[in-house]
């Protein structure tokens, strides 16, 4: 029934817009220079904690500029729908945060202000940012419509105690080593005939995560998922990447089949904290594992293993994270630009990224918080081994379709029916057709 009410909400929004379409404001004017509305994404485990982090900082902004900021912190699960509604109605906040993978799709709506050279100059110029993080701002060959705020990359987290017990001295550097290491960690510890400790834990029922693995593993084998902006999901390298992921649970048996049901990261972190799994492949965690009473002594961080073999590329992760953007419907363009300048400034970048456990996308943010092993590895991965997600407007469709397909294949694998390469290839071809039909 929720579909209907959501459809209803959008439709009502549309009806309202129809009435005011004539007097819509698309230029981003400055009619209301003293107030801003800012939709921040939830970056910490709770909305409340986010507010505690952001409010004192925004107060500084108000003291400096005289502009009052109405803050709303929105969980990622709701954020996209909220932005879509704001986009459709032309009535919404001035500044928004967005998951950087949505950037090209949201850019295509034409509702976001472009960050051309003049706008970037107000932030201190494009050269302040790591190049790959700037690429997440919009589709390839376009002027970006969002700027990076907080960055994350995939990293390997390992349980030091289980490593020591299994006599493993260093984390695996290649995917081949990875499987060998994971096999050593997979065992029946209490002798009841059932395996109760596994090499790797995965969040198997989440499409968003499944597509990350498919993208990273495929890209490391040289796969390109789009030819220009035409979907081409069924390349042999892409198929092999997905097979590699499924095999961890299937042929290699280093993942508990029950993980196919894991809908949340919390399921995986819990298993990690309780010594049921030896490794996790997750985006930069920062403080998250503190909630599970784990410290640096309990776990170590390593770069994502590398692909070997012919045609492989040095890809360890895509660049994940959060961007900020200005809606064209704003009535305070200068104020909105000031706010983003403030948020991307060196000082706020240190404060906020340290609080959230993310990595600053700007080069001039330096601080003690980023001298940990985790942050060093993350920054190194960002600089040398990270690529952006597909920079095409159909990125969201790609994520959903491939994500769902991989989740279903992992379910099949869990029940003992790991799909073969041909089956994967033909389904990927279908998904390409589906995206082409939609564009």
């Amino acid at each position: 029934m929720r579909v209907w009410s959501r459809a209803g909400a959008v439709a009502v929004a549309i009806a309202v817009v129809a009435a005011v379409a004539g007097c819509q404001n698309n230029g981003g004017a400055n009619a209301n220079p003293k107030v801003l509305t800012y939709w921040a994404s939830q970056q910490s485990p709770s909305v409340e904690r986010d507010k505690e982090i952001l409010k004192p900082e925004l107060r500084k902004f108000t003291e400096r500029t005289g502009i009052r900021v109405n803050l709303e912190v929105i969980p990622f699960t709701d954020l996209l729908n909220r932005i879509l509604t704001a986009t459709t109605s032309g009535k919404g906040p001035d500044v928004i945060n967005l998951g950087n993978s949505w950037a090209p799709s949201l850019q295509a709506t034409g509702a976001l202000v472009e960050w051309d050279d003049a706008m970037m100059a107000r932030l201190g110029g494009a050269k302040r940012f790591t190049p790959v993080s700037l690429q997440t701002g919009g589709a390839e060959g376009t002027t970006p419509t969002s700027v990076p705020l907080y960055s994350k990359v995939y990293q390997l987290y390992y349980n030091k105690k289980l490593f020591e017990r299994a006599g493993i001295t260093k984390p695996p550097a290649t995917w081949k080593d990875f499987v060998t290491t994971a096999r050593k960690l997979t065992k029946d510890t209490d002798g009841d005939g059932r395996t109760d400790q596994w090499g790797l834990g995965v969040r198997g029922q989440a499409g968003t995560i499944a597509v990350h693995y498919a993208y990273i593993l495929g890209s490391a084998r040289g796969a390109e998922f789009f030819a220009g902006d035409k979907p081409a999901f069924d390349s042999p390298a892409a198929v092999k990447g997905i097979e590699q992921y499924l095999s961890w649970m299937g042929k290699d048996k280093i993942v508990n089949p029950s993980d196919a049901e894991n809908a949340d990261w919390a399921d995986v972190y819990e298993a990690f904290a309780e010594d049921h799994i030896g490794m996790m492949l997750v985006q930069t965690l920062g403080q998250t594992l503190k909630d599970y009473h784990l410290t640096d002594e309990d776990y170590g961080v390593a770069p994502m293993p590398a692909a070997t073999g012919p045609g492989s590329k040095n890809v360890g992760s895509f660049l994940g994270g959060t961007n900020a953007a200005i809606l064209k419907s704003t009535d305070n363009l200068d104020g909105a630009t000031e706010l983003i300048k403030f948020l991307t400034g060196p000082q706020e970048q240190v404060t906020l990224n340290a609080a959230y456990g993310t990595i600053p996308p700007v080069k001039d943010a330096k601080g003690k918080a980023f001298e940990t092993e985790e942050a060093k590895i993350a920054r190194q991965t960002m600089a040398t081994r990270a690529i952006p997600l597909p920079r095409v407007p159909q990125e969201t469709q790609f994520e959903t379709l491939i994500g769902n397909a991989v989740v279903n294949w992992l379910s099949d694998t869990a029940t003992g029916k790991q799909p073969g390469g041909e089956q994967i290839s033909s389904a990927l071809k279908d998904a390409s057709a589906k995206v082409s039909a939609g564009g």
Binding site: M1, R2, V3, W4, R6, A7, G8, V10, A11, V12, I14, A15, V17, A18, A21, N81, L84, T87, T88, G90, S105, L106, A108, T109, G110, A111, Q205, A206, G207, N256, P257, S258, A260, E261, A263, D264, K328, P393, T396, Q397, T400, L401, G403, N404, V407, N408, S411, D412, A414, T415, D430, A431, A433, K434, A437, G438, G439
Partner: protein
């Protein structure tokens, strides 16, 4: 009895006589156009009286139009547009697609259509199972409580709990029960009863369909119970007493008395439950954590995916319109058939 009905008849005669008198007066009156309304003031009053109900209905009607028909019409419009993220900010300029969206979703050889057909069949199976089980359980519970006296209140409350619980809380609890490693169901089936050798999956694969059915039945059957129980209040005890004197057992009573007497209740009940179940969204959405297995993907989830996740609002709207048409068609046929049967019975 005779006396009172005679008195009532007498009163009726009196009124009729008075009316006739007034009518005569009107005929005699000069104003021929006003022949039905004896005086102008009375006419005004009658007219006012005739419109008063509609005036009171107006707010409801306006809200109904805005809340229900508005979205329906815009859904219909969107289904004829090529509306994706490219047109979202200026959606009114979206290109006209005519029947293209419908062609795409009804072409079952192509992935979009094939996936829609699959979820249509899943939904159909799901509806049949859920409806049959919920109705039977509701009937069984209502009939068995019909003539029990002790503990009825307690049992009734107990049965109604699933209906009163918020959907999210209830379904998430089911999710915990059905988990493979830590779920209670596997604990009972494998560790305690030893029915299964290995922990089974209930949230993924083909079992997910049945899990979804069980949860939906659990949520829906109390409603059937409630309605049937209310319907049973209108069946007089004397009928049962008379029939048992004639030697009818409980089965015979159920077939020959209870079910026929419940027919009007059942007619509405089944229709309402059908409509609810066919549009079910919360159960799969919460039970499967947002990523519904193919074997359990209901139509509303499919539509949600197409419109809100892959941003193809035209395609999603076309699917919604088809769903609406299908439900209208089924409802129309159902009402026509049940009405004809009812009138045949009366004849």
């Amino acid at each position: 009895m005779t006396i009172s009905s005679g008195a009532r008849a007498g009163a009726g005669d009196e009124t009729r006589r008075r009316h006739r008198k007034n009518g005569d007066k009107a005929l005699i009156g000069k104003d021929v156009r006003n022949d039905e309304n004896p005086k102008n003031s009375t006419g005004l009053r009658t007219r006012r009286r005739r419109w008063t109900p509609y005036v009171f209905l107006l707010p409801a009607l306006v809200l109904e139009l805005v809340v229900h028909f508005g979205p329906m019409v815009s859904g219909l419009t969107m289904s004829a547009m090529k509306l994706t993220q490219y047109q979202l900010a200026h959606w009114w300029q979206a290109p006209f697609a005519g029947a293209d969206n419908y062609k795409a979703v009804l072409d079952f050889d192509q992935p979009v259509g094939a996936s829609l057909l699959n979820s249509f069949l899943v939904t159909l199976g799901f509806t049949v199972v859920v409806l049959a089980a919920s109705w039977s359980m509701g009937l069984a519970a209502a009939v068995s409580l019909q003539r029990t006296r002790r503990g009825v209140g307690l049992l009734r409350t107990l049965f109604l709990i699933p209906y009163a619980l918020p959907a999210f809380a209830a379904v998430i609890t089911w999710r915990f029960l059905l988990q493979r490693d830590n779920g209670m169901l596997n604990h009972i089936l494998v560790d305690q009863l030893g029915v299964l050798d290995d922990n089974a999956f209930f949230l993924i694969g083909s079992n997910s369909f049945w899990s979804q059915c069980v949860v939906a039945i659990w949520r829906l059957w109390p409603f059937a119970f409630l309605m049937i129980m209310a319907g049973l209040q209108s069946v007089p005890d004397e009928v049962y007493e008379a029939s048992s004197l004639d030697g009818a057992g409980p089965w015979r009573q159920l077939r020959e008395i209870t079910l026929p007497m419940l027919a009007p209740v059942n007619q509405v009940l089944l229709l309402v439950m059908f409509l609810w179940t066919f549009k079910e969204f919360e159960t799969p959405y919460v039970l499967f954590g947002g990523s519904t297995p193919e074997q359990a993907r209901l139509l509303s989830v499919e539509i949600y995916q197409n419109s809100f996740v892959t941003w193809n609002f035209g395609l999603g709207s076309a699917m919604s319109v088809l769903l609406l048409l299908f439900l209208l068609l089924v409802t129309g046929i159902y009402l026509a058939v049940t009405r004809r049967r009812a009138s045949l019975h009366e004849a």
